[in-house]
Subunit: 1019 residues, 2 copies
């Protein structure tokens, strides 16, 4: 695989990059250096988090807008010419005949900006690459492309270098205050720039020393003039001489080097500026002395070599390296793997009983395109500099990335599911965030209007299920064998789900936050760690229950919200899947969860059936809940089923909320459990089938209509992509039915021809500003109060425009605002109802789905959300294999769909169509724009899964089979081979020489344990 | 004064404005429109607050940096030419021979940007003026300066127009998210642009309609092509045709008009773009219909006329209009008056008993140069559109602006002092903010690390005193007459000052925040209003005390912290004057307050002596405190005095904190009060004199040295400007002594030659990064622990650099961090002390004064803080009048100083020296830079006071004298007259015709009551 590693050094190119809309890139290092760049040259970079920035951490639009003032800056004056050439600056665009190109290497850790000045026959390039020891390297190359000798004055370097110690929020809201504290000094012996604060910025009247600085220095230019600010840039532009700057106070820092150079024909000059953050005096002195005594160029080259090797090694461990003739595809797989382990982590050590998941490289995610997420790269100890093992993330993120990681580390599947199950609550949900130490939950902060709580029920069933399915495939019987072992605690999240009766009254406000319990837990956690957040029994000891009980509780929690033919009622204040339809909370019924529940019930039934024991120990409370649920599902009317399920869950919850588990254990027969699972399965399947639309697609979400706390019907919503993915994954459809769904999907309103892919829901036009907020024409007839108020010119509720139309007060945002306003002016109850009806008629808020109807990027109107598309790829591949295994006639047609959807994800798209280098995954593509949000999308996990499926790696009954039936022939190299890494082994396929193989159970186990290094397979 | 009103329309010009550093301007309207502009064209504007912005509200550096993308944008293509001319854009700078000029009118509500393209012989101007009815008007004028007919393609308009409904914090931190919600539509009938959100941006899953929009429309161009985004700007630049945009989603809004025009020689074309915010459907329809039916140009002209007239009228009412030959001076006075009433407000109605201060136009201050302040202009009701009477501000701001307002409205002096006294606490301090409804205080918010509490003791004595002195001068005897009337409540601020003993232990942590009392008061306030925050007696009724008791309590509070020869100990957690020396809190002794206390004691002694009654009713608690204080002041040693004062105050506070006032009242003889005041006066005066430095200046602040809770000496600090101002104001100095101070000041290190003015303290160089944090050379000898840790490579406390020097861990900010780190690694107490000593030796934090030593703008190193300079002007004028009245030989020399210092404030400075239009006051001038922070500085209040003094308006014994001895001769108009407004009357001076006059008491009273309209005076 050495050649491939070398090939990773190759660069992809986008010519005339300035003809595209600027796009954003996420440049990665093997340690804690982070960089985000815009294709116009804008940059933000730093270490660890946004608070340790070399260039200001701003949202992507601002990074792009700051290109003139931040990051790389070069001014080139040619002797005898009046104009000044400034590569990538808008100042130069109209003055020269220029070409701008962009390059990114296959590893994804190096980007080159290139501008060719055809008038002067000069090319200037700068290349950004993160090292590790020395930080960021920015190498400049100036080449004389012509045949004349050229004499030049050059001012080159970095602008707007941050001092050390500025939190990103302070910089964003108060950059002018930060500027007042900036102190930039030249280290006179070496010409190194030191960027510090005169003091750490605090409001308290106490000393607050700033004892660390950011640094910049250079190699390659002899005795340049050093500038520490941009103050002299205008003077240089005019041809005035530069004056060395040694101390600049109260201004933005810069590190600019002025020099003269003469370039012979075809000669090129190269120099490197190095910049790093968070250096204390000891480190700066070390750097100074080193610069005085050794060849820094060699050390810099070494650092880049090591940094790149480290990153490649991490990705290689996670099987990111493949060699096929499709370089775009293998580069994307490399990148997918890299982004997958960035979020989920990768084992750094051998697992031990104390640390069964010794992951590192994981990080809390976030980037400048999504300001609500704050990334944090905890890979090294800031004091000792030693590697840190840590992981942290929203639970759905961590577990999704772990699923892909488990392809390469299947022995981690058990500790992963253990972690999953140890975080779930006794009422059947999962807390918000998982950390190495345990878990964390959202809290209510009265001073933060954005704070909110709830259970993000999404993926809860499917993500756990997929990990378990994988474990069962790799090590059959092991799950069944531990079903009855009491090993799992419950998370004691201080949320209290209200009673069924209360939920019916207001299904959007269903959880009480127990602030005092929260405080008590957090206080105890400071001393005892996560143990303080685990549920205790009446004896004060941490409760541990069996795997079966854990699984049952999560199934029962979902089933307790089952609405026959409707779906799973989403009433835990947070949306089911991501935020697209966040307003469905309360009223929404998830068919999606129903589909995954089906798959889970089937799987768990098989596991239970395979259990070596005939009885199981369950808490009596759970057993009762199970029995009641089973009975409830046998009832006939929807209202009866709802009531019985809701009451059973309420009874259970009230017991555990008030007394924890106190009823003791009970032995339950296997047959009883199986009978419960079977009893659940049939209404679930029936309900899925009931959600088939006339066009052959399936509903994704429905709306539960309630009237005075009683079931009043199910309302459907327009088609969505998610439901198709779910039904294809549910195990309900035959290959024929699956194919029908995929065929219909291609001709549906969800398909976007320009990107050959699928939106989450059909694009639609919102009403124009003057079309919305218009009351029905008969409003005045219906409300005497309105008539009176309009007559009196009282605009507090409604105003009438000069053309006679009525509009609600422009300060109202929803019916609650109207209600408050009416309360303030003593409107009668009857009139209140009339006005609230008018409001609902005007806005139709009952059908409000949330973000999917309110904005134009991310999961918004017209956007393609790539993670969901890649889930469709996964589901299609599953259907393909199902068809293949059953020799169904739809097999080839499903394969065709698979490849078509996969192509739509953009691997082979032209940069102009894709909107960026297509070797990187991006989160979404808004209507009419290029891709957005680089790298850390859930898509990478799905693409890793399907890639191994495509390579024909399938695991079943503890054995791995290599049989690449989906693989495109043209991926083979000219010699008929291709190689890829799997469980750390290099697998080589020899095409046309055989039929693939299935390894023995023993060999498979060796492979899963990463004890094989190579495998040659004839396929 | 009509001519003068006309003259206000005149414009001041700055030629070649692009050769100056960009500077910032505050453009004012008579209602709620706000605009801040950078001289490079950058702009932010809106109504009411930063949350209702037309262009994004950002800090000034960002407004300047956004000029290319935000606000006015013009592209001009000339037929037959390749290049595109973009006035004020960096794109055009090198392409054409251009001149850029800037104009601002005398009123200060209109700014013109002008670029002359000498190559094409074209001039383009755009002018920003806020109207009221229609919002912001931006008038464009394109003039053919040449003799040829020119054909042009023009794209002109506004970029980055905000949608309605985006809070400024959201925009600053998450502009890319905001972009995703943007919806811009063209109103097809009129070509009006409507800028709205698709939904109000919230995280909750609830409908949130955005029912208001911002609008932009135009008058003057026939059938232009409308663009609603900047997307086609690059195409226009290349000469491609434009395509009308009718709906743009998910992008920054713009309002750009494409048109062709032909300009004959010397012909000019004019058009106007109008933009406004917060329009609902009813208002937009009204605007649409109006545009269809009437001549909008006439309506626009009318609106500007009215808006300007309103602003001028407001300023005129506050005597802002003067006519002299010095237009810069009178323009600055106009501007000073305008900014003074913007903060303090101006009477809008006749005072009534219910509303004795019917002020409007006041606002909470703030601007883009100080992101920590959030302005709020509550002048009109957003629903009804009717004027609102309101005022709000930090108490020191409001009362300072009121002092200047009272020059024109002297009848408001009593209600002003009443307001002041009704806000002070029983322990003798003032809450943070004053509102029309009452007052407000800072609270501790555990989730906000910036939240903090304390009493800002600064100005407490002097601001009240100055209001009282003014009242006594206007209506002698009235204060004395109400000394014994129980009319004043105490604010029950939930702060509890600790005991003297506790304060000695930690003088930086001296106030307990009573969170539960705070909650209780706030809860009650929601129902009962401010009454809930007033101190109640044991009977539950609001306590009311006499004026004398109020005054005594505030004097006693200060005296309780009197340190003989040292000053007033600042131990209420907040600094005395502004934040410059904020870290003096706890250790600092204010000589400044001592000076003002002296002046106050003298004044109050006179008032008490003049009282018509011989006895006063005091609360027994206060009487006891007074007696104890008097006794304490008679003690000899500093320690004894401190102890006795501190214990007396503690006893008093403990009583009122625990039982409120419960000891009943006592009758106190006038002589006893006088004897107390006299007893206080003499040590105060002695201490002031003790603070004379050898160079003749006076100390401003000293440091109290404590050792184990005992007095251990007084340490002096370098010279500061504030102490000189205070001693000149104290009434202690003779004219001769005052002159000596001013002479010395001019030759001191405080003087900045380049600005002919004074810094707050001498500029100094901070140690360089590698010079700081170096432990003493013998550190290893002193600490065995350090030696051991260094040997073991343990860097948790100290690291050693390769050159052998030792440095504390770079994460430490102060000794507390070191202490925490030592605690974590179990360092012995002895070693702890050694290391803490080493830390103090390394950083000398005992002498840490706070911001004055930590940053480079605002009140920082090298800055001139103009408010303090203008206080020096006030003090100098007072000394001049004192000398004049006593025929002292120093009179002329003092007058000379007065004029020199006044000139230094910049009225007549060249724009390049000043850094902006010198007709506006700015807050400060950092070293080597231009002025910063336009308009709303306390300076304006001082300058108003001295201006009337300079005009010879002096009030004494109820009579006003007009005798302009300080006025410069060259201010008279050629006809020997000048006019100014005073108490609403037009005063005309006829020079050389007389000696001025003193009006009779009756005439004076008529004038004070604003019942005179004109007065001709021979001077």
């Amino acid at each position: 695989m050495k050649n491939e590693k070398k090939a990773l050094e190759e660069f992809f190119q986008i010519q005339h990059v300035d003809e595209m809309e600027p796009f954003f890139m996420n440049i990665v290092s093997g340690t804690d250096l982070w960089t985000f760049m815009s294709s116009n040259g804008g940059i933000t970079a730093g270490r660890r988090s946004a608070d340790w920035a070399l260039f200001p951490y701003e949202t992507d639009d601002r990074v792009t807008a700051s290109a003139e003032n931040t990051g790389s800056k070069t001014l080139i004056r040619r002797n005898g010419y009046h104009h000044c050439w400034e590569p990538f600056s808008i100042r130069s665009e109209a003055q020269f005949n220029i070409v701008r190109n962009l390059y990114k290497n296959r590893i994804g850790n190096s980007v080159i900006f290139e501008e060719i000045n055809n008038d002067w026959q000069l090319a200037f390039r700068w290349q950004w690459t993160p090292g590790d020891r020395f930080g960021f390297q920015r190498k400049a190359t100036l080449t004389n492309l012509g045949t004349e000798t050229i004499s030049l004055e050059v001012l080159d370097g970095l602008q707007n270098i941050m001092p050390c110690g500025v939190p990103s929020g302070l910089q964003q809201a108060s950059s002018n205050l930060v500027n007042a504290y900036k102190e930039t000094q030249l280290e006179p012996q070496t010409g190194m720039g030191m960027f510090s604060l005169s003091a750490i910025i605090i409001d308290r009247a106490e000393p607050s020393e700033a004892l660390r600085c950011n640094v910049a220095w250079q190699v390659g230019l002899d005795n340049p003039t050093h500038l520490l600010s941009s103050a002299q840039v205008p003077a240089f532009r005019k041809g005035l001489p530069l004056k060395e700057e040694t101390l600049v106070k109260g201004e933005c820092g810069a590190y600019l080097l002025g020099t003269s150079m003469t370039l012979q024909a075809e000669e090129k000059k190269t120099w490197t500026i190095v910049a790093d953050v968070m250096k204390d005096q000891t480190e700066v002195v070390a750097l100074r002395e080193m610069q005085k005594h050794i060849s820094m160029q060699t050390a810099l080259d070494e650092d880049l070599k090591n940094a790149t090797a480290l990153l490649v090694q991490l990705v290689a461990q996670a099987d990111g390296i493949q060699t096929t003739s499709d370089k775009a595809r293998t580069a994307r797989h490399f990148s997918n793997t890299m982004f997958n382990i960035m979020r989920g982590g990768i084992p750094m050590n051998t697992p031990t009983p104390e640390n069964p998941l010794p992951l590192g490289f994981s990080r809390r995610h976030g980037d400048p395109t999504r300001p609500w997420n704050k990334f944090n790269i905890n890979t090294t100890d800031p004091v000792t500099g030693k590697p840190v093992l840590d992981y942290e993330g929203n639970w759905r993120d961590l577990f999704q990335n772990w699923e892909a990681l488990a392809v390469s580390y299947p022995t981690l599947l058990k500790p992963m599911t253990d972690k999953f199950l140890s975080c779930s609550t006794a009422d059947g949900y999962n807390p918000y965030r998982v950390t190495k130490a345990g878990f964390d939950w959202e809290t209510v902060d009265p001073s933060d209007p954005w704070s909110y709580i709830g259970y993000w029920g999404d993926h809860q069933i499917i993500y756990l299920l997929r990990l378990m399915e994988a474990e069962e495939a790799h090590t059959p019987g092991e799950i069944a064998a531990r079903l009855d072992i009491p090993a799992y605690p419950f998370a004691n999240v201080p949320y209290r789900i209200k009673t069924y009766h209360e939920i019916l009254q207001n299904p959007k406000d269903t959880i009480r936050f127990d602030a005092s319990l929260n405080n008590q837990i957090k206080k105890e956690m400071a001393v005892k760690g996560i143990d303080a957040a685990l549920l205790k029994g009446t004896d004060g000891k941490t409760i541990k229950v069996s795997l079966l009980e854990k699984l049952l509780v999560s199934l029962l929690a979902k089933l307790s919200n089952f609405i026959p033919d409707g779906g799973i009622w989403m009433n835990t204040q947070r949306p089911e899947w991501n935020d697209a339809n966040n307003a469905l909370v309360g009223g929404g019924l998830s068919v999606v969860t129903l589909c995954y529940l089906h798959r889970a019930l089937v799987f768990y039934r098989n596991i239970v059936a395979a259990s070596p024991t005939a009885t199981f120990t369950l808490s009596r409370e759970v057993s009762t809940w199970m029995d009641c649920t089973k009975d409830a599902l046998a009832l006939t009317s929807t209202q009866e089923v709802m009531n019985a399920l809701g009451e059973a869950a309420t009874t259970y919850r009230q017991k555990i909320y008030t007394q924890s588990f106190c009823e003791g254990n009970i032995q339950v027969q296997r047959e009883d459990v199986l009978s419960f699972l079977t009893a659940a399965l049939s209404p679930v399947e029936r309900s899925i089938r009931a959600n088939r639309r006339d066009d052959g697609l399936y509903h994704s979400y429905n709306i539960l209509e309630l009237s005075k706390g009683r079931f009043a019907g199910i309302r459907t919503l327009p088609e969505m992509l998610e439901g198709q993915v779910a039904v294809l994954s549910s195990g309900v459809l035959s290959p024929k039915e699956a194919l029908a769904v995929l065929d219909t999907l291609r001709t549906s309103r969800l398909y976007r021809e320009d990107q050959q892919s699928y939106m989450l829901y059909p694009n639609k036009e919102l009403p124009g500003f003057l079309e919305k907020n218009c009351l029905p024409g008969d409003a005045l007839d219906r409300s005497a109060l309105l008539k009176k108020m309009i007559k009196e010119g009282d605009k507090r509720l409604v105003s009438q425009d000069v053309c006679g139309k009525l509009h609600f007060n422009g300060t109202f945002r929803n019916a609650a605002d109207l209600a408050t306003a009416m309360k303030n002016i003593d409107v009668t109850e009857d009139e209140q109802n009339v006005l609230l009806d008018l409001f609902e008629e005007t806005f139709d808020h009952k059908a409000f789905t949330g973000r999917s109807g309110t904005f134009y990027a991310y999961e918004g109107l017209g956007s393609i959300y790539w993670h969901m598309v890649s889930k469709l790829v996964v589901a299609t591949q599953e259907c393909y294999f199902q068809a293949l295994d059953s020799n169904a006639p739809e097999t080839e047609a499903l394969a065709k769909h698979y490849h078509a959807i996969l192509e739509g994800t953009g691997i082979h798209k032209d940069a102009r169509q894709y909107g960026a280098f297509s070797t990187d995954a991006y989160s979404h593509t808004p209507w009419g724009k290029g891709v957005r949000q680089p790298g850390m999308t859930g898509q990478v996990k799905e693409d890793i899964l399907t890639r191994f499926g495509e390579l024909g790696v399938r695991i079943k009954d503890g054995k791995v089979t290599f049989s690449p039936t989906l693989l495109r022939d043209d991926e083979y190299l000219p010699d008929g081979t291709l190689t890829f890494s799997y469980c750390g082994a290099q697998i080589t396929y020899h095409r046309g020489k055989g039929e693939g193989i299935t390894l023995s159970e023993a060999d498979s186990a060796r492979l899963f344990a990463r004890q094989m290094t190579e495998l040659e397979i004839n396929v």
